[in-house]
Symmetry: C2
Subunit: 406 residues, 2 copies
């Protein structure tokens, strides 16, 4: 059977080579990757198994990586990685959620058995699924190893996208457009928040006729009414009411590549302060996008935004955006460059960012965002959707087509 | 505004009291909870913000917990926790994904400022969102504290559900039934895997007319065809083919309470070996459920299964089930009791388990599972659905109603 690998063997080879260059630079002989996005990036492995410990091992003096995970997931690894199945190793099932032993104890044993127990080992100290206990187990069981924090080593390589990655993000951008359209057609007074979320989720996963959707790393975020003053509360069973603002932040996802974007709906005519906030955010977003070009820094993009909204008497403390692309739950950000005053990363062609100037005031908020790639001359958006506040019906006689009739 | 708290203040008080009893037993003066399920259990906090460091702090000699998180999420905490807003503290936005500082550095500073920096501090060493770097930061910044692994301290309290929790799980069970019905009505030769996943996700989130769904901690797992030999690969854009087995593992989720269950569809008439495997798994599942009662151990339930399938010449290495209920991504298991030979946990009324005797052979697999609660006399299921293999149309002229026509 021919595997449907997301990237060519040449591209994987190139990524491994660049990873090893960075390993040499940081004095790392063996790199242990726990971040599922980094595992996927270098191996192709793609399963919802990151809820148990698993690692991709890059050894400086060996050509192919080694995958180590749960025995139950070995078949999944065989079906998805590009390298030889002999390099897929596992720990026994009795290590799962057992008080007296931890999967990383066995993984350490494997590392010792394959002659890597006394080397300079890079670990991703702040990766979501590399817990404090996982690290303590490695330290205890590999007393002759030297551990080095190689956090973000691979994430940094992921910042500039290849043409295949940009292709996947373009597909994701089309899916995101469709999902946003669905959201804006569904939200109205009288519709339950969960029914809007369900319709969005359906559009995200079904995708389009020529490209099916993957699961986004974050669920649709739909803060509404009094909750629009905060970005991360999820939906409830409540029905939307007239005069509410409803923030819609969602991503399209295609083969694990994300293009998030946000718009804000208002139910009925927007009140003057929300309308003004919507205008200010749109003006600031335009100003920021206008300065994006190779050679410009993240800080300069943030400053363009800041100048624009300050002229209107507004302020924003949180960062304006972040590098985005390949991800797994719980975040679609890549945790490398941020668009903010303190970040002097220089923009380069095919870097991709989610520029999200959300403003959350005490009683309401507005989000309006775009995901873009840096081009040779400026930037290109992945989704195209009106930047106005979207006005939705305030009369609660609209029955959602998605509502259960039972 | 009156908050729509998921539990009464009496129930929260009771949980805090039991937590403190365990803290005393384990010699913990200050408990730092990073597991979002444990944070929700004791505080009501419910937001998709666990992708940045945040903690619930239980102090032995203080009545109310303290929530510490990102500044942007303070409004979300104010809207969801049961305790006084003065007890909601935050770190500044400049700590988010910054190379030179980590949110836990600031959290350690807060703990010192509120007089808790030199105490016996319990941490959840193996919680998903408590990374190696988070712990290293606490150790470095609180040199006078003594750290104790209090992992699963709160998870263990969650094992026996209250009547309100059982009520939420019953609603989740109804949602799960509906989602499974949707899956089984959708899957057929010619339908794309992503369209089946989209339909299931819609049913999970929309829920029912009288109870809207919450997001499950795991996406629908739909291994099909050659991938049915492994449990954790997610859907693709491929179309289902005749003679494939399609495993459907999904959960209903209501107010963060989960009831997962699995069934297996076959497209066209099942082949004799799959039919036999389906019968063996059903027989083993029945045998296991039949012995469930208060006083019986997890090991005894596993043995009933093992005896039954061994008689038919089968074996299963992985565990048979696990405690289930309140969860956040990436797992709906509670990481406490497992149904397996080595676990001697004694079943008690209102413990809840996902009994999942999946069998993955080299070329195909069958899953058939139930979530149940232990009753006074035996057990009660949360969802009701035929335990047969579900036969689905093999002729690829069925057009999915969910497919994009564009």
């Amino acid at each position: 059977m021919l595997k449907d690998l997301p990237f060519s063997l040449i591209e994987y080879g190139d990524r491994i080579r660049k990873t090893k260059e960075q390993m040499i630079e940081q004095g790392v002989e063996v790199l242990l990757l726990a971040d599922p996005a980094n595992m996927y990036y270098l191996s192709g492995y793609d399963g919802w198994s990151f809820y148990v410990p698993q690692l991709l091992v890059i050894i400086l003096d060996e050509e192919q990586p080694i995958w180590i995970g749960r025995k139950q997931d070995v078949n999944g690894a065989k079906l998805t990685v590009w390298f030889h199945p002999d390099r897929i190793l596992s720990y026994p099932e009795c290590y799962i959620h057992a008080d007296e032993r931890h999967p990383m104890d066995y993984i350490a044993y494997i590392l010792k058995m394959i002659g890597q127990g006394s080397r300079r080992i890079g670990v991703e100290m702040d990766a979501y699924y590399f817990t404090a206990r996982s690290f303590a187990s490695l330290q205890k069981n590999l007393p002759n190893a030297t551990f080095i924090d190689a956090g973000l080593l691979v994430n940094r390589l992921r910042m500039i996208k290849s043409s295949q990655e940009i292709e996947y993000m373009k597909q994701a951008g089309r899916i995101a457009e469709r999902a946003m359209l669905t959201a804006m057609e569904t939200i109205a007074a009288g519709v339950r928040e969960c029914d809007a979320a369900a319709a969005i989720s359906h559009a995200q996963i079904s995708g389009l006729a020529d490209c099916g959707g993957d699961y986004p790393a974050i669920v649709p975020l739909l803060p509404a009414g009094e909750k629009s003053c905060t970005p991360h509360l999820t939906w409830t069973e409540r029905r939307y009411c007239s005069e509410e603002a409803v923030i819609v932040e969602l991503a399209g996802c295609y083969r694990r590549y994300h293009t998030p974007f946000a718009r804000t709906a208002v139910i009925g005519p927007p009140s003057p302060p929300i309308r003004e906030l919507g205008e200010v955010v749109a003006e600031g977003l335009n100003a920021a996008l206008n300065v994006v070009a190779p050679g410009v820094t993240c800080a300069e993009v943030a400053e363009a935004w800041q100048r624009t909204i300050q002229r209107r008497g507004y302020e924003k403390e949180s960062r304006l955006g972040y590098s985005v692309g390949l991800s797994y739950p719980p975040d679609w950000g890549e945790h490398t460059a941020s668009i903010r005053a303190e970040d002097h990363t220089i923009l380069q062609p095919n870097m991709t960012f989610h520029l999200i100037p959300g403003m959350w005031l005490e009683e309401y908020g507005v989000e309006l965002s775009e995901t873009f790639r840096v081009t040779e001359a400026g930037c290109e958006l992945f989704s195209h959707f009106s930047r106005e506040l979207i006005q939705r019906p305030a009369i609660p006689n609209i029955v959602s087509p998605f509502e259960d009739g039972a």
